[in-house]
Symmetry: D2
Amino acid sequence: MIVVMRHGATEEEIQRVVAHIESKPDFRAHISRGVERTVIGVLGQIYPELKDELETFPGVAEVLRVSKPYKLSSREFHPDDTQVRVGDVVIGNDEVVVMAGPCSVESEKQLLETAQAVKAAGARILRGGAFKPRTSPYSFQGLGVQGLRLLAKAREETGLPIITEVMTAEDVDLVATYADILQIGARNVQNFKLLHAVGKVAKPVLLKRGFATTYEEWLLAAEYILAGGNKQVILCERGIRTFETYTRNTLDLAAVPVIKRLSHLPIIVDPSHGTGKWHLVTPMALAGVAAGAHGLLIEVHPNPDQALSDGAQSLTPENFRKLMDGVRAVAGALGKRVAPPSQPVAV
Amino acid sequence: MIVVMRHGATEEEIQRVVAHIESKPDFRAHISRGVERTVIGVLGQIYPELKDELETFPGVAEVLRVSKPYKLSSREFHPDDTQVRVGDVVIGNDEVVVMAGPCSVESEKQLLETAQAVKAAGARILRGGAFKPRTSPYSFQGLGVQGLRLLAKAREETGLPIITEVMTAEDVDLVATYADILQIGARNVQNFKLLHAVGKVAKPVLLKRGFATTYEEWLLAAEYILAGGNKQVILCERGIRTFETYTRNTLDLAAVPVIKRLSHLPIIVDPSHGTGKWHLVTPMALAGVAAGAHGLLIEVHPNPDQALSDGAQSLTPENFRKLMDGVRAVAGALGKRVAPPSQPVAV
Amino acid sequence: MIVVMRHGATEEEIQRVVAHIESKPDFRAHISRGVERTVIGVLGQIYPELKDELETFPGVAEVLRVSKPYKLSSREFHPDDTQVRVGDVVIGNDEVVVMAGPCSVESEKQLLETAQAVKAAGARILRGGAFKPRTSPYSFQGLGVQGLRLLAKAREETGLPIITEVMTAEDVDLVATYADILQIGARNVQNFKLLHAVGKVAKPVLLKRGFATTYEEWLLAAEYILAGGNKQVILCERGIRTFETYTRNTLDLAAVPVIKRLSHLPIIVDPSHGTGKWHLVTPMALAGVAAGAHGLLIEVHPNPDQALSDGAQSLTPENFRKLMDGVRAVAGALGKRVAPPSQPVAV
Amino acid sequence: MIVVMRHGATEEEIQRVVAHIESKPDFRAHISRGVERTVIGVLGQIYPELKDELETFPGVAEVLRVSKPYKLSSREFHPDDTQVRVGDVVIGNDEVVVMAGPCSVESEKQLLETAQAVKAAGARILRGGAFKPRTSPYSFQGLGVQGLRLLAKAREETGLPIITEVMTAEDVDLVATYADILQIGARNVQNFKLLHAVGKVAKPVLLKRGFATTYEEWLLAAEYILAGGNKQVILCERGIRTFETYTRNTLDLAAVPVIKRLSHLPIIVDPSHGTGKWHLVTPMALAGVAAGAHGLLIEVHPNPDQALSDGAQSLTPENFRKLMDGVRAVAGALGKRVAPPSQPVAV
């Protein structure tokens, strides 16, 4: 941590800061007098509040951090890639893993039909929401436990592991008995009680970026889970909120190479929420793969115009097959693998 | 709801949309053929998903909503101002109600000292965090139940009602046994399980705007609480996230007159989180009052440089007294009331 | 400037950075080895590109600036407030100076009528656009020179100095022969040729913040003008672009106390563009005054529904008189002055 | 255009709006009375100011546009792709055209060396800045005319057409005598005098998106150029400003498929400015190609740590060759072409 003094800070102001730092056990201050101003290096076991503390001193212009506030999620302290295993699927190596399915589980027919279609096209994991966070209290809120049971049934029929969202700490144990991967949604990325709870379970967690979450805050959210003991964390970029409103969100694909540099955790991309329009999903999925993503999360619905949520951004099974063809082409060009279609596909 | 067809949409595309609309009970479509394009009005009991549904049809350029998606929180459907009562304090009339206290409850001494000081200066409600949402798992997380007990003690000693945050649905009953007002923090504005839970208690709720929440989403979050049966909701603007990083957040004071126009709920301003720097708190507090806020939420700490959280944005008791003098002057100029200092103040 | 090395940077990497710094005349490097990483202080006459330069070295995690990149506009190097004089009006002292008038000059009748009305209500300076930057090429682009002549005529009739926008370096001399204050619009805040040109004229310049300009970039834009020799610069906050679209922009009133701390230049507020809705103009004008602004810029039009630009955000003369009453009340409460109405006003 | 009346608007308010609309020649109003509110369709030759005009009427809740405000740049009115020709290079067909070179022209040696290197690797157009828009007045401002001459010399030696920025209307003729493509920088996207000027020249224009420009505003900026008579416009996405500060900008790759849908103009991607960090340039370049971009704009410098501008985001010639290999692989996978390396490359 570096304390930057104001131009013209008095010697007494400088010494008060030094004294405060050195009043802490094992801390030392290190003064450096520049042409225009003095800076004071802080040596010791830095804690997050120290910045606020030092900024209240007279004569201080600014306090700069030089260490990242996260450790367990950082590549500096854990250089090797984390690989998350779900049955025989590995997320975080050279396979591009596609997770697909409906936004919400609506009925047995809708779910099984979609599950078979996405499996046939090469998806490796089935997604589907049972508990749905909805902006309006008047929107469909999901089937709840009944949705979880249908997901389990779809897994049984297709062999695909399932990922589904958990919205509150209380539901973690329930959802974990059904799901293969627990999803934390964008609105809950800083629901610290929930992060704490999923840090205690033995299932992988997919942590979506919030729509106004910086990379650093996102890795600190992951840190809550890792610090709880659960090392199986997958990150998912799903778009951030900006001034542009044509798209539902602005998909920040630079997150892919940035996270791979800052962290050892795998990162996947959700172009469905990231754009909010079905006709943008395929180009952005391909772009995500080209940027280096370890996987994709795609919404597919047999009849998007009948969907109870997010119809506008869902692909038909037919369009999903085309997406998978593109994904295979791009991934192949970059030396990555994608699961083949699992059965003859009638066109 | 208005469906805007693309320039050149075919008659068949138009008729498919019309047929879809009219397939719903009690819905009618109303075609209007303009110079450049056709628009179709949708008459019927609109539901949020209908937009997505219609946007998937070929030939549709855009679907525009013409109704607000919230009702209970809207002024159109509830023209008179809501007044929230807490003991003898009323939030939502012509008194500017100041809530003040430390960010976190740290100790009995710190809390009581602050409580006495803010009361003396004219605060009407004591704030203090017992459960703290913290970006880093390594930061102080609050005293929990012990903090709640200290708040109750401070209320006993000073007579000030207390406001404190609740972070998860599970804790609502516990916190409600101690607090006079339940606070929902910015990160939980779309924690729908929590909103649902506080909708069921008989205590007022202060709902902070999230840092990337639009006015509409904020009012929809309030709608969850109102729809649950709890009509005592206070809104609190606390800054949004923008590209400017000098301030911790960008305090959006236009929220005050906007919310007063769109809704009947009282709105207060938190310039402490809204700026993140103590030297900006007083000017922005005065600005909030001038914009028409029903109250203020201010962080005060006896020794900001020793605070376990948010020291950089906390006022000393002395600076808080000066803030209150300014608030009284501005409120008075606009015909509003502010509580007087409760005892002689030594300067 | 501080070079933060990566955790685990090699001694050779550190020494390459040191050698590079010390290869420059009169530069010294200052190594500080912390618990987790090494930081290198750079002592010497820092120039902006040095940051980029040092960030390309292997082993470097980050380069932090500790000096502000602007000097002439900074309060650190110029502690006393700048006061800008226009005739007998002073901007930057304890008077709140109101500049008002139509968005665009449309006709002699419209301008003179508005000029008389705003003068009567206490405005001190007349605003009006002759050259209009318009998002669409199909919108009214202003009357040009004819508009300048009408402004000069309105000045003659009312005695009010005039402020009008200049859009391009070529027009600076022309506009300066008519205007008392040259306005640089938000879209031109980084039109460096234009900034350079107004730095050479002997008229005050009002520099609006761009809608995506940080405080630092804004002060650097002012620096271009000051460095050209023109010290008469007024800053104007007019809202920034955020995710919220209900308002045209998000008026960032914290800019007022922030700029007063970082700079000696006067700062005023434009709540008309800052909100885009006439019913928000008065509360935000009062808030601006309470935040400490040195003045206001307000759009007034005799018939807002007939305005050729920005009708939705223009006040009628009647509403402007009410705004001025509120401004007088708030300014008075804070010990500031506002010009009285100049003649009996018939209500 | 649709006028949405408030819930409870009176018949008189409705009739005033209708009368206003129908007072205009060839305009008709079309009333539709819904369950909750009345909406009025406006039929006639809509102009941009009409929205503001109608929003000032009592009883009006909102005015919604149903037509796009741009025509010449819109795909609805010009369905076929525009192809821009520069010598034998075509931008806008199935070749991915790479434009590369230094941010600033610094010296003959630096420019020629870079030009040869990028040509060898497969670049088709040479970029280089002679006039540089710089945030700080103390930064290197470019070599000016001398830089243009060096660019012309590099074209002569390599055969590569050149693209360079023009910053002000006055310089358009000068720059056009040297450049093959005129670049309008992000800060000038709404410099309407400059857009007007380049609309009159017979050279292609590359129009960068501003860092806070919506798709619609960007296409309206293009409309200025097209309306001036110049149909050879290329759009370039270069990142927008968001709350995330790790990257210099947030590269919005969804702009690629969105613009291809809304417009017939070709679109390319600048991952150098779009990220600001050299190690992110290659993954984001590949992502841009996968998203469907017609080309790339890449900064290359023989010694990035000596660059007078943007060193941190410049690739070495070696890294640029690797980028081109990746671009060829991804483009090939999608059935697109990229120029081959033009000569054996020594590694």
